[in-house]
Symmetry: C2
Subunit: 204 residues, 2 copies
């Protein structure tokens, strides 16, 4: 496309490097910013730079953090004896928003995927074993919950972790698979429906 | 949502101020930038700031420009005697990409919309009349093409412009309405189909 301005073209090119944003959307966003106060573009730019240069990763769970420890690991009211293993920060946010979990997390930073060339050594697995074998907190780790997606990569990673963590003797579990709340039996796939029968829950 | 980092929260909040981007997409974009080289975030931020602070509007057609005149108005090979009136820069880009038009443009900067409180005085209409009555170029303006969307607002704006430009005596036209190339007659609405019969084109 023949942009009216070299600066617009550069901005469109940078914006469209973001995932899921094509040239047309990038142009729409650029023209939007041009119409708004200069202040909005300034604060957007600064927020991006600050985020990128000043955030780090929690030394304990590898979640994103402003300090040495993230605000979950540094919260004295969280249960140190349970660790929930997730792929990335978005999973932590999703689980946190349920308000059902009061333990700690361990962010792997990815998932085993031979196709994308991601192996176990690219993930934060050694530090997970270290947390179990040499806990920093007074309390030992009693349970590891694997909260990975039920995809090929997720299952591979879960299988690898089970094998790798077995020698530590820690209790391991995985999040329940089953019919989603509000889901219709008729539209559930057979594997999910089958799993939901095998893992049925007794009434109290 | 309980973000793991204040800086992430600020970035998400700024990104989600952009049109069509919600909190979830904003978080996905922020986490993407965190995973990439710092350089990418830096060049994105700089491109946005440069675009916002250094681009201006063409003194003649009000299109976005890096200099006093945009690269269409300053191109000596364009036809100065035709002006195509459009709403914004995106329309200029759309028409330019057809390679069918060699005249100049006039960017109104909006469309008459009583609902949104946009009246004729908010648009670049006076400067259009000035371009017709006192042309800067040696050649007088021979034709004005209105390229506005066939919506209520577009039709209102076109009607207003026709009335307003009538005293100048300039020839006026509008882009053709009809069945899109590849469009199926069966699925065309009656108004479009009717207009395509009224404005039928004779074979050479």
């Amino acid at each position: 496309m023949n942009y009216p301005s070299r600066l617009i073209e550069e901005a469109v090119s940078e914006i469209s490097r973001l995932p899921g944003i094509g040239k047309k959307t990038a142009l729409r966003l650029a023209l939007h910013l041009l119409k708004r106060e200069e202040e909005q573009t300034r604060s957007l730019s600064e927020a991006l730079i600050n985020m990128r240069t000043k955030t780090s990763y929690c030394e304990k769970c590898h979640n994103i953090a402003d300090d040495r420890l993230c605000n979950i690991c540094s919260n004295p009211r969280r249960d140190n004896s349970i660790i929930c293993v997730v792929v990335d920060t978005r999973d932590v946010l999703a689980i946190e928003s349920t308000n059902q979990y009061k333990g700690l997390y361990h962010v792997l930073g990815g998932i085993i995927s031979p196709l994308e060339g991601i192996g176990p050594s690219d993930l934060q697995i050694d530090s997970l074993i270290k947390r179990i074998e040499h806990p920093e907190d007074a309390e030992p780790v009693k349970e590891i919950i694997l909260a990975l997606s039920p995809t090929m990569e997720g299952d591979t990673t879960a299988f690898y972790l089970q094998k790798k963590l077995k020698p530590t003797g820690v209790k391991m579990s995985t999040i329940a698979r089953g019919i989603p709340i509000g889901g219709d039996l008729e539209y559930a796939d057979e594997i999910t429906l089958g799993r939901s029968i095998v893992s049925r829950v007794a009434y109290d």
